[in-house]
């Protein structure tokens, strides 16, 4: 029997009467289907065991009044219609979008810049890479408290440094205008993680491409634009999607540092959701909020995936 991969070199088989056989899915493609499902089966099993039911339940809860302790009671689309009239819902949405659409592009640019800088073979790069990665290692409540001190208007780090330059720093977390910028700056310190992913992606770019470009007379900008970015585009796409999904769900900072204030300026969407669910015990309302966010993110991601066909280059396709 010829091996599967050799089919292309053989003439098409014909039926007994001499006409062409009806085209059948080749063995290769059936095999691939079986293999495909085999490889993804661990995820599917895990999904049905641990995630499917909770997701389905949360969708169900969004159509109920559910205070966690008593069984949920069906109320139709009331949660959704009332959410539309809830000013805090719109405030939370605005705050979250503001934060996301400023911090994500900034993070992407800085992370790319740093990865390019740190990808050189100069001595000491290992130390620098660790330094830039360090802030991402810190997490949890203790770090949020640390940043509160950094942004302290009187004796904090940032304003002390500004004072050296003769600038009187704003009230940061105590000011409705500056609280979100403070959180954006705080998020930028975590750029090390994104940088690391970029570094990994840069490894898959063959050096020969750069050599060829240099021979053609390309300077650093052309190399960046025609070699690095296209070859790195799968990684950049990954970062863009995951950063956006993550930023739209920002929570801990509001929970630990500002309690949503001042004047609700840091009332982020998931923070409002959490309070609604666990402080006010309105899990149905919170579930509706979760599903609205879900639909927004899904819509955004689908759009980005469609757009990605134009600028993301996959070596294998």
């Amino acid at each position: 029997m010829p091996a599967a991969g050799n089919e292309v070199t053989h003439p098409r088989p014909t039926s007994k009467s001499g006409g062409p056989l009806k085209p059948r899915r080749s063995r290769l493609s059936r095999n691939e289907t079986i293999w495909g499902w085999t490889f993804v089966s661990p995820w599917i099993i895990g999904f049905f065991a641990f995630t499917a039911l909770p997701i389905a339940l949360s969708a169900w809860y969004s159509f109920t009044a559910y205070n966690i302790y008593q069984p949920p009671r069906f109320i139709g689309t009331a949660n959704y219609t009332v959410l539309m009239t809830d000013p805090l819902f719109w405030t939370a949405m605005y705050n979250t979008f503001y934060y996301t659409f400023i911090s994500v592009p900034l993070m992407m640019v800085i992370a790319l810049f740093l990865a390019l800088l740190l990808n050189t073979k100069l001595p000491g790069m290992g130390v620098f890479r660790t330094i830039y990665f360090l802030p991402s290692v810190l997490s949890g409540v203790g770090v949020a408290l640390l940043w509160m001190w950094v942004f302290n208007p009187g004796s904090g780090l940032i304003n002390s440094v500004l004072e050296i330059f003769g600038i009187r720093g704003p009230l940061w977390l105590h000011s409705p205008e500056w609280s979100k910028p403070a959180m954006i700056i705080m998020s930028l310190w975590g750029v090390g993680g994104v940088m690391v992913i970029n570094l990994a992606g840069l490894q898959s770019i063959p050096g020969s491409l750069y050599d060829a470009a240099k021979i053609d007379g390309a300077g650093w900008w052309a190399q960046l634009r025609y070699v690095t970015i296209p070859m790195l585009s799968p990684t950049l796409f990954f970062n863009f999607i995951t950063l956006t999904i993550g930023s739209l769900q920002i929570f801990t900072q509001a929970y630990v540092m500002t309690d949503g204030g001042p004047v609700n300026s840091t009332l982020f969407y998931v923070f409002y959701l959490f309070n609604t669910a666990f402080e006010n015990l309105r899990m149905g309302y919170a579930s509706a909020m979760a599903w609205i966010l879900f639909l927004i993110i899904v819509g955004f991601s689908l759009f980005q995936i469609r757009m990605s066909r134009r600028w993301v280059y996959y070596e294998e396709s």
């Binding site: 991969g5 495909g36 290692v137 810190l138 996959y314």
Partner: protein, 280 residues
Amino acid sequence: MRKLMPARRAYVLTVYALLIIGSISFLFPLLWMVSTALKPTSQIYAYPPVWWPSPLDWANFREAINFFPFWLYFRNSAIVTVLVVIGSVYSAAFVAYGFSKLNWKGRDWLFFFVLATLMIPAQVLMIPQYVIFTRIGWVDTLLPLIVPAFFGGGAFNIFLFRQYYRTIPKEYSDAARIDGCSEFRIFWQIVLPQSKPAMATAAIFAFLWTWNDFMGPVIYLHSPQNFTLPIGLRAFQQQTGTEWDLLMAASLLVMLPVIVLFFFLQRYFVAGMSMSGLNR
């Protein structure tokens, strides 16, 4: 030292200058942590801020370790984290292979579905998931924190590997198929070894998240002998205020394993270490 051409020298100097300036701003908060960890309590909020405390209060570290059962929690954290890292990295690499190197109907829709699971805020899934684990009797064990990692390792990691795999030209796996290799062998012996940067990255992130995760341990662990380090760190934050010096000392200690791991895994995403097999 080799003599450098002027252009090259300018380039090198610029790179170092930029990196150093950036480093200072990135390091500041950490230096403050170290400084606070070494401060006697009276100097914590002094104004102007004290950068170099005197005397250096090394006792803070000892006090921090004795504040809660540090080594017991460390052991639990280590068990959970190591297992989760192994489970996440290998199962994500495995699952992602199915989403990238093989062509089959419904593949991309299913992948988007996987990605979509990242888009639901975990807060609304917490309680139903907790109920599931209660029904199978896993509450107050480390199992709910470990087992799910072996089933794909999370959409983030699957996505990471998939993107990385797709930068590997198809010729490698095609050639192996022609030679009669099973898909599993292609995955294990050709694709995976070329994915060390992705593996290192996934390992670091899995380690980081699990090591620092407190929500999972808080709701699933009810006996102090199972507690993990993040729960221990909470002990410094009381209603009456935070023991800053001890918290910073403990946080530094808790951070160390991650930093060490990162430093050693770095070489996997540095030029030259990831090649294997065929010419590129």
